[in-house]
């Protein structure tokens, strides 16, 4: 999941393509984060001028939503569910194991830049708790051993593309 480095031209194209949408702020922010993995500083004044908002207003929107990141994340995003159904099935233990295996806490990135770890409240996979998400893949009935397999596969695809 290697992302491009943000460029003014790239940002302008993503913003321009959505300028006419009613309520365009979130669609723009999603497009930018999908392309670059985060919402870079330089995007805010560009969105503001496209939508006739102040920079502070755009900043306020970005900061309101947990989903949007303001700094570049690792090459993969790993999320561990912390909501009730997963708690009933051992999510706390899973969370501790994942943190130990990655050597990071929530909102941190591994030193090799491979993985950013985040908490999430429910992935709609509650019938298969405890649940995790790795990039766009949802995973169910997770445990430390299954997470090892997932990590191993991630590292292999990284090795193959490097």
């Amino acid at each position: 999941m290697t992302k491009e480095t943000p460029s003014a031209a790239g940002l302008a194209a993503l913003i321009d393509a959505r300028r006419e949408l009613p309520g365009a702020t979130l669609p723009m922010l999603h497009a930018i984060q999908d392309a670059y993995g985060y919402v870079p500083d330089e995007a805010l004044p560009m969105i503001a001028s496209a939508l006739n908002l102040s920079r502070a207003e755009v900043q306020g929107v970005v900061s309101f939503y947990h989903h949007f990141r303001r700094t570049p994340p690792g090459r993969h995003i790993v999320q561990v569910c912390r909501a009730e159904s997963c708690l009933a099935m051992g999510a706390e233990e899973l969370e501790a194991q994942v943190k130990a295996k990655l050597g990071v806490d929530f909102h941190q990135t591994t030193t090799d830049g491979a993985v950013t770890l985040e908490p999430v409240y429910c992935l709609g996979n509650c019938a298969c708790s405890p649940a995790m998400r790795v990039d766009d893949d949802i995973l169910g009935r997770m445990n430390g051993r299954r997470f090892d397999t997932v990590l191993h596969a991630l590292r292999q695809t990284e090795g193959a593309s490097a």
Partner: protein, 516 residues
């Protein structure tokens, strides 16, 4: 002749390896030079058996599961393409007790059809409701929905037809239908299953709503935690439009309705309807004061129908079979069926659509098969993270909006999370308060500040500091939140907290007899 095999594409099935199973079946069939036709269906909702693969045989669909890629070769050897016996075989899918006892109206097609096939949808009664609605006057459509007794499935249980009537009766050049697909409640996944497994059903329900109230534009607000549902909906909307079911003239009726699918951004509060509108308008998801009602002044200030996915997806069957058909299910003022979601510590987790009136005990024991861990079940949280913890002594109360409200609980979106006797209820109470701290939109003080204080007070109770005084403080904080919050985020966080305290005082270090 090729054998038809169903391998679910539902994200929970995928989360357990369904993709690898589909690949292994394709590979094994190719190696053996056998013709197979693999259909990627939604999930039947028997998640302890997922990935659940079905083979179409002259005896009907035969179920095998939970299947892993490494089981596939042995299954071919055993003759599973002919529906042969095997340790993973469960016989005809429809006769599995978990399914056989259900009353699937809203979920009639989920798991049966190919979600994106319009032919399949039509062959299974799809668009019958829309066709009937087109032939009726808009006010008659609204009346049909009112008469069905359908109440909002998103949590508040407001009568859907009455909401529609307000929008119908409010004149405006532009009206909207906004589908709330934020499904933020933990322990719930029915919206997701339907969007992934039968997206045209939601589209049909929205189109009926649009024609009934005179709205020409619809939005579906899907949470960002649901990437598969989002992509399935986008594809379904495109195909429905290409086939003329959406657009300038819906099914050739001369009236317009179209849909845009939008993505949320990880904020639980955006499931609250006015916060969702703010978000759709591109703003921070801060809750709006009511009035004005969204039905009068909603999205971009225009009259807007806001309904949950389940509410809208129940409309096609109501129109197709008539209000009375739907109304005949259920009891009291809770009519029709509710797709309950069994989650947490249960052997058989999954989707159980039943008429209102079923009890928690039937769901947890008969359907759920008791706890996954084998330990006694201690409690279940019903209705999401703002729902009460129901103790075993109340498992026999009928699930009905009024009876649940009377005991200080709520049915909500029908999510049920079971806990065994290892759960620490003081910790769960703290979790509920901490969730409110995290997700409060910040507009009102009782919610924003009260929840922060609440966490501190619970921490002191857990630490054993001045228990009596701090419990009194917690209760008075909860009363303030209940009475002084603008929406149910602050207003209902006390439900899980106080139900935990009331029914499980021993977990807070208090003598059970002294707590009452």
């Amino acid at each position: 002749m090729s054998v038809r095999i169903y391998v679910p594409i539902d994200s929970s099935a995928l989360s357990l390896g369904a993709e690898a199973v589909a690949r292994a079946i394709r590979h094994e069939a190719a190696v053996r030079d056998l013709a197979v036709d693999i259909v990627r269906n939604g999930s039947r909702g028997l998640f302890w058996l997922e990935p659940l693969v079905e083979v179409d045989t002259p005896q009907g669909r035969i179920a095998y599961g939970p299947m892993q890629a490494e089981d596939v070769r042995g299954l071919f050897d055993a003759g599973f393409l002919q529906g042969a016996e095997h340790s993973l075989c469960h016989g005809p899918t429809d006769r599995i007790p978990f399914l056989a006892g259900q009353e699937r109206l809203t979920f009639a097609r989920v798991g049966i059809t190919d979600p994106l096939s319009l032919d399949d949808y039509l062959a299974h009664g799809g668009f019958d409701g829309l066709k009937r609605a087109i032939a009726m006057a808009p006010a008659e459509v609204v009346k049909e929905v009112t008469d069905s007794g359908l109440r909002g499935r998103g949590g508040a249980a407001f009568p859907t037809g009455i909401k529609w009537k307000t929008v119908h009766d409010t004149p405006a050049a532009q009206k909207y239908v906004a589908c709330n697909a934020d499904e933020g409640d933990s322990g719930t996944f029915s919206d997701r299953m339907l969007m992934e497994g039968d997206p045209y059903c939601l589209i049909e329900g929205m189109a009926i709503a649009g024609l009934a109230v005179g709205a020409t534009q619809g939005y579906i607000y899907v949470r960002s935690e649901y990437p598969h549902a989002f992509r399935t909906l986008q594809a379904a909307v495109e195909r429905a439009r290409a086939a003329g079911w959406l657009g300038a003239s819906v099914a050739g009726c001369g009236r317009a309705f179209d849909i845009d699918v939008r993505l949320g951004a990880g904020a639980y509060i955006c499931g609250e309807e006015t916060s969702m509108l703010e978000s759709l308008e591109g703003k921070r998801g801060v809750v709006r004061a009511k009035p004005p009602l969204p039905a009068v002044s909603g999205l971009f200030g225009q009259p807007t129908v806001i309904n949950n996915v389940m509410s809208l997806a129940s409309v096609p069957v109501i129109l197709a079979r008539g209000a009375a058909f739907y109304r005949d299910y259920g009891l009291g003022r809770s009519r029709g069926t509710l797709p309950f979601q069994l989650a947490g510590n249960l052997r058989h987790t999954g989707l159980v659509e039943k008429a209102f009136g079923v009890t928690l005990r039937e769901l947890l024991e008969d359907y759920g098969g008791g706890s996954f861990s084998g330990k006694p079940l201690r409690t279940a949280q019903v209705g999401g993270p703002l729902g009460a913890y129901v103790p075993a002594s109340q498992f026999d109360v009928a699930l009905d909006y009024e009876q649940y409200a009377a005991m200080g609980a709520m049915v909500g979106h029908g999510g049920i999370v079971a806990f065994d006797d290892t759960v620490d209820m003081a910790k769960m109470a703290r979790h509920a308060m901490a969730f409110c701290v995290e997700e409060s939109c910040g507009k009102c003080t009782p919610c924003r500040i009260g929840s922060v204080r609440g966490v501190e007070v619970i921490d002191r109770i857990i630490a054993g500091e001045e228990r009596g005084r701090n419990i009194a403080l917690l209760n008075s904080l909860c009363d303030t939140m209940l009475a002084g919050s603008l929406c149910a985020m602050g207003g209902m966080t006390p439900y899980p907290v106080q139900s935990a305290l009331k029914h499980f005082p021993e977990d807070f270090g208090i003598d059970k007899t002294a707590a009452a």
